[in-house]
Amino acid sequence: MNDVDFLLWVKGPAFSAAMVIFIAGMVLRFFEILSLGKKVNYAVPKSDPVQGGLREILRRFGTDKATFQRSLLTVIGGYVFHIGLFVVVFLLAAHIALLKSIIGFGWPNLPTPVVDAFAVITMLTLIAVLAHRLQHPVKRFLSTPSDYVVWASTFVPVLTGYMAYHHLLLAPSLMLGLHILSVEFLLVIFPFTKLTHAFTLFLARWYNGVSMGIRGVKS
């Protein structure tokens, strides 16, 4: 298999397979969660549970001042790499073109040099976040091998994408192939690791928020 064959394979059958596993896996995970059900709550609500659920979905994108200060590195690191990933994944012209070919519509992109800068920031932050995880007693204690696999599977696509764009180390087409392959790896493990939080956190916040709504708790 030469570079071109490899690129065609990762762009074709491998990509389709990864997407199928990703989508079917996430559907399965949501089924696994939702099919467990939830008991009826007979307590008279103090405020609207639906409003509580929606409020918590939004509110938890932010944090209160004291918590911000107490967990400074976690919060800042978390924001920066999530925003960075969002920009790199969804606002790069090449990515939008790919997504458009799959879902049929696109959206405006950021200039590639800007996205490139975000990629650098994202990689540096991911490294800082990893260092923090290794150094922080609680984070290190809670971390399982899966956490480090998840970290690597997030970092490598950004790195290979950056290297492919800048023609570093390997032939750009080979590096692009590796970039796509690394994304496929990410998609495949996504439903079976804590990467699922990207979707399930909306459910978690909803359930917690509904409970807060019933209890009339606002924060």
């Binding site: 467990l36 008279v44 804590k194 978690a204």
Partner: protein
């Protein structure tokens, strides 16, 4: 409780696992922010006190039983089943080092209700025989005697006679059709009898009809704390039966945090239907009387004072503004602690910690968080609205040689009460 086994514990875990819990476990990213939110960690920073880690056995049962990947891992021998020895080890984490205060639940960035899960995990701890002796004793006394402290009706009747003598008012028992049924906690009957006197004065003066029940006067619920729905259901049913027999409109939960959680939030679900009456915390009732103009006070406290928010009132009950409205009626120099209101720090002894002898040392460590908050303020008086918080605060202040009296909010209001014309007093 002769056959408490690991198998029963695991089955109880399985019975507790629901969609919210599965969404919570699926969403955790091991960020560790729950640890920073938990006073049992901040005052005793061992990583195993991180709230999410306290749930690890339950998480594993969820993963192994209810996820495809977990089942596969179990088949391939890649995951180990939860053992009895582990649950024995976890008793310290789930009971001694958690007051179900709900702070982690509020802080978690992905939105996990960790408190909800720890409450549920305790069901499996009870079923597997890994609940603390102190809580087993309290629950047994609650079921058999009617009070976790073993307080019987004659003790209450004696207090009632004192109150009637000192106020000249009638303290009614078993009055059918009264508006309010007043529930108490044993702690109030034994340690803080001034509470009953205060409520008697306020309600009677407001022209409200109210009553005690001779069949059930205890509002606290050890079943909620130990984590046994069977016990909790039995205890809450007694309150419901008394309230329905007396046909009251409202049951007043005392100055006690978890009694409110038991009666207001868990009770209807334990009995499987809505109540025929309303359940309110005394502070909610007092604030309603204030709004209706039925609670008037005179004179102001000069002392610099602050309010300790009981967790079950603010974070788990949405009662934040009411105590402040009331305090502002009688206090000139009311100052707020840092993190006050919904994010206030626990006293360190809620959720069964105070009834658990194994937690004696830990709860005093946890108190140091409150000490820091108080040291920042330099107040003369500390006001609260939970007898359990109050006894922990008094002990903590004593141990740390801090000379700050702790006062119940209801008593403070009663001291400033203006007698109304038209009131029955």
């Amino acid at each position: 409780m002769s056959s408490l086994t690991l198998e029963r514990g695991i089955n109880a875990f399985k019975a507790q696992i629901d969609a919210p819990m599965a969404s919570f476990f699926s969403s955790c990213v091991s960020c560790g922010m729950c640890a920073e939110a938990c006073l049992f960690y901040t005052e005793n920073p061992e990583p195993r006190f991180a709230p999410i880690y306290k749930l690890e056995p339950l998480r594993r049962v969820w993963e192994q039983e209810y996820t495809l990947i977990g089942k596969l891992k179990a088949k391939l021998g890649l995951s180990k089943p939860v053992t009895d020895a582990e649950l024995a080890e976890w008793q310290e984490l789930v009971y001694n080092n958690c007051s179900l205060c709900g702070r982690c639940t509020l802080i978690c960035p992905v939105g996990n209700d960790l408190t909800y899960m720890i409450r549920k995990m305790r069901e499996g701890m009870v079923a597997s025989g890994h609940a603390p002796e102190g809580l087993i004793g309290a629950s047994t006394r609650a079921v058999q005697i009617g009070s976790p402290m073993g307080v019987k009706l004659p003790a209450l009747q004696a207090q009632v006679r004192h109150v009637e003598k000192s106020t000249g008012m009638e303290v009614p028992f078993d009055k059918v059709g009264a508006e309010y049924l007043l529930m108490l906690s044993s702690m109030e009957i034994m340690n803080y009898p001034e509470y009953l006197e205060a409520v008697a004065k306020i309600l009677t003066n407001a022209g409200k009809t109210w009553t005690l029940s001779s069949e059930c006067f205890e509002a606290t619920n050890s079943g909620i704390q130990i984590g046994s729905s069977d016990i909790a259901r039995e205890l809450v049913s007694r309150v419901v039966n008394a309230a329905e027999k007396l046909k009251v409109k409202t049951v007043i939960s005392p100055e006690c945090g978890h009694a409110y959680t038991a009666l207001r939030w868990e009770g209807p679900n334990l009995i499987g239907r809505p109540y025929t009456f309303a359940a309110k915390h005394i502070v909610e009732v007092l604030d309603e009387l204030r709004e209706q103009g039925l609670l008037q006070t005179e004179g102001m406290e000069e002392a610099k004072l602050t309010f300790h928010d009981p967790c079950q009132l603010v974070r788990r009950g949405g009662v934040v503004q009411q105590p402040r409205n009331l305090l502002n009626m009688v206090a000139k120099n009311f100052v707020e602690m840092s993190d006050c209101g919904t994010l206030n720090w626990c006293c360190g002894a809620g959720g069964g910690v105070s009834a658990n002898e194994d937690a004696e040392e830990v709860k005093m460590k946890a108190f140091l968080r409150k000490k820091k908050q108080l040291d920042e303020l330099g107040v003369d008086t500390l006001v609260t609205a939970c007898a359990n918080c109050r006894i922990q605060l008094e002990e903590g202040l004593e141990v740390n040689q801090m000379d700050i009296p702790v006062v119940g909010l209801t008593e403070m209001i009663a001291e400033h009460l203006v007698e109304r014309k038209g009131g029955a007093a």
